[in-house]
Structure formats: structure tokens, C-alpha cells
Symmetry: C2
Subunit: 226 residues, 2 copies
DNA sequence: ATTTGTGAATGTCTTCACAGCC
DNA sequence: GGCTGTGAAGACATTCACAAAT
């Protein structure tokens, strides 16, 4: 009998690489689709195709979680789904506050995809007095000075910043002071946060600008060939 | 006298790495801020701080475009801004069509940040008959069967897909057939496209799920230490 | 004296290719 | 026979540290 740290098995290697973590939700989505279609089992090739990645990469990614496949057979969809869900913390729901209820914040509040992925939007906050008290996606918009109280009361650890760029740093400071340790930032600004706080940035303009870059290169090349 | 390929100087190394391309828009934004503040010159340390990256990384990134700094002095803000803008194709405006005018598509249509970054939303398309003919952000929503015509008429090369996941692949096929070669995909689905077509994916649920993963790890650790 | 531009070193991610197991 | 799990190789990205330039 081996010694256990706690009630669940300790994954072998520990420390899943960042690149892998970023893909696990994609695999989980593909597994959900397979499960709904009634597929009982799948190979790494099948699953990789559904997720849009190289099969070797998929296998290496999964190997960081443990050894859940059967050689010569493949993966049991239901079992793997359960293990991946556990690995990324989807066995519980995470309460999230959205700061900034402009067009983007409103869209995020109403986004259907969150609830089935363990994300629960539980509060909306804005600085604009004309928005406060209005109802968006079934939630009342609260004033920004209530933010520390909201975070504390509900034990919120994850926040979305969808304010204008100029307000983002100030909001982030308030969030961090209140106890938030994970921020998803849609504002076009770099957020400075203390160690131990996680920031992910989504920048809509930048995504299109990157596409424009490649588009331009294509245009330059065909021009040169012509 | 060296031989020139065409009227502008050919960048020395060619082929800017992907990771660099993804950061160039960030640098451009920081340079714009410096220019507006009236700063005439800046060092790599200054600019890196504004962009939130390591100075050595910034210098290596810029070195892929050319040699636009002065040793012992730094970079001329206005000049560097111009060069970075040219590198990422921001000297011209790119016409973009948005497919899917739900909450997210509407938010994107109204997004203020695009116009100043060379992105022009010129058409909106949806499959829902109740939305067709309505005006969103000053544009009339057109039916999805007009998509090929819209792309062809305006010579559109970049499209945004903001449909439900189930419709995304079909829309992508139509876009590619019509001549689009760059797609920004917000739908929660993997798009299969021919070689030569560029797809970038933004998945809002996944971003939050990645944060939740790290959040869970933090919780597990403090629990183990306690 | 100061700051760029860059070879070299390090770190990280991806892909190959096959041993090991069913 | 078929498929997983993984060591080893390769590709790519980041960071260091310093020579070259003003």
C-alpha cells in the first residue's frame, strides 16, 4: 500500500505545462461532443482530429494528467472526460464578476457558453451612473464602489475586466486588493499586478491586426510573383 | 549600390517570427501613447515597460524589422511608430465582414478600438430572418446568402465568425469559397480550412477555464500547506 | 556613458518514432 | 494488428551578456 497525500491519487509528474493547460478545455469540449453522440471509445487520432491538433501532441498532453488510455484500444470517452474535467477544475462552479457593462461586457454577461463550462457570472459592475440599477442578463448592475464588498461577500477569485483602457489598471488594483487572483482582461491596456495574480489578455483589435499582417504578406508575395 | 527588389528597402532577415508578429500591435499601441504624450524618444527599457515585456525581447523583436534605433540614444518614437505600422500593414485600412450578429457580433460591430487600428467593419450578416434588415452600429444586417456577393463586391479578405458553434464550419466554407483568406473565429468549434487560409480562434469560455485551472491549483496548494 | 543589436545559452513546445502493452 | 505512452530529436522562443556604435 502506497502512501497517499490526500483522498485522491496524486498525478505522477505534477506540473502540467502551460501549453497543455490551454488545450485541455478544447479536448474536454471534443469529449463532450463525442459523449453526446454516444461514442463509447476513441483513439488519439479521432480525438485529435475533433480538437484540431496533432495526435502525438494530444497523447503527450494527456500523459501529463496520468495514464488513462488502453494500448491497442484507445480512450474510454466517459472516463477521460471525467479526468480532464477534474484536472481543469470543472467539477465545481466558479463565480465570476464582470466589471464594465458596455457592449462587450453585456455580450459576455449573456454568453451562453459559460454555464456549461463551470463558469457562473454572478455580478455586474459599472462606473456609469446611468447604467447602475439596470438589469442585464438577469443581473442588476451595481456601482463600482461596491466592488470590494461584492468580491468579499461571495468569495470571488476570478474577474473579467471589460472597461475602457484608461480605467482598467485602477479596476485591477481594486480587484486584487479585494482578493481576486485571476483576471481576464479585455481592456486594451497592460495590467500591472503583484506576483501570484494571474492575468490573461484578450485583445480584439490585436487579433485582427495579426491577421492583417499575414494578409499583407500574402498580397506582397503575389505582387512580387506577378 | 545594392540591388532593390522594389521601391522599398527589403528587411534584412525576412520572415518575422510568429511570436514577434503577435507583439508588434502591442508595441504600436505603446508607441501611439508615447507619441500622444509628446515623448520624442524612448529607450528599449521605456517602451518594454509600457508594453509589459522584457527589454531584450523587445529589442530582438524590433531587430526583425530592421535597425531603427540609435545606440546610446534609443528610438525615435515617431519614426519607429511609422515603421512598426508599416510592418503590420497598418498603412491601409482592411475591410472586414462580421458573420453572426448575436450579442457578441453586435458588441464587435460597435467596438470602438477597430477604426483607429486600420480595421473597418463594412458588412454584417446573419441567418436569423428577424435580424435581417435591422440596423446595428450603423450597418444594415444582410442575409447569409448574400455573403459571397458581399465578399466579392468589396474584395473582402478578412472575416469574423461570431455564429453558434454548429453553424461556424458551414459559414467558413462559404467565406473561403468567396475568397476570404483570414478568419477570426469566436465560435466554439474547430474550423477546417484549406492551406493558405489563416484562422485565429478566440474562445471566451476557454480563457476563463484556463484561469480556473490555475485558481484550483492555488486552492489545492494552500489546502495542502494548511 | 549609454543603449542598441545580436551571438550564444537556456528554456519551452512540438514532433518523431518506437518500445511496450492490449 | 493496433494504439498508447514516452524518450530523444528538432524547432522555436526567451533571456543573457557583451561587442559595436554614438
Amino acid at each position: 500500500m502506497t502512501i497517499l497525500r490526500n483522498d485522491r491519487t496524486v498525478p505522477p509528474g505534477r506540473e502540467v505545462p502551460d501549453a497543455t493547460v490551454a488545450r485541455l478545455p478544447v479536448y474536454l469540449r471534443a469529449l463532450n461532443a463525442l459523449a453526446e453522440a454516444g461514442t463509447p471509445t476513441c483513439s488519439s487520432v479521432d480525438l485529435a482530429a475533433a480538437a484540431g491538433v496533432n495526435p502525438a501532441k494530444l497523447r503527450k498532453d494527456l500523459s501529463h494528467l496520468g495514464s488513462y488510455g488502453t494500448r491497442g484500444v484507445g480512450y474510454d470517452v466517459e472516463h477521460l472526460r471525467h479526468e480532464v474535467a477534474r484536472a481543469i477544475g470543472q467539477t465545481q462552479d466558479w463565480d465570476v464578476v464582470i466589471v464594465g457593462v458596455g457592449h462587450l461586457g453585456t455580450a459576455l454577461s449573456s454568453y451562453q457558453g459559460f454555464s456549461t463550462r463551470g463558469i457562473r457570472i454572478v455580478a455586474l459592475v459599472d462606473a456609469d451612473p446611468t447604467r447602475i440599477g439596470t438589469t442585464v442578463a438577469g443581473l442588476e448592475v451595481e456601482p463600482v464602489d461596491r466592488l470590494p464588498a461584492i468580491v468579499a461577500e461571495r468569495g470571488i477569485r476570478i474577474a473579467v475586466v471589460a472597461t475602457p483602457g484608461a480605467a482598467a489598471q485602477e479596476v485591477a488594483d481594486v480587484l486584487v486588493a479585494a482578493g481576486v487572483t485571476s483576471i481576464l482582461n479585455f481592456a486594451p491596456a497592460h495590467l500591472e499586478v503583484p506576483n501570484g495574480v494571474d492575468v490573461r489578455k484578450v485583445d480584439l483589435s490585436i487579433e485582427l491586426q495579426i491577421l492583417a499582417y499575414h494578409q499583407q504578406r500574402r498580397a506582397d508575395e503575389t505582387e512580387a510573383t506577378a
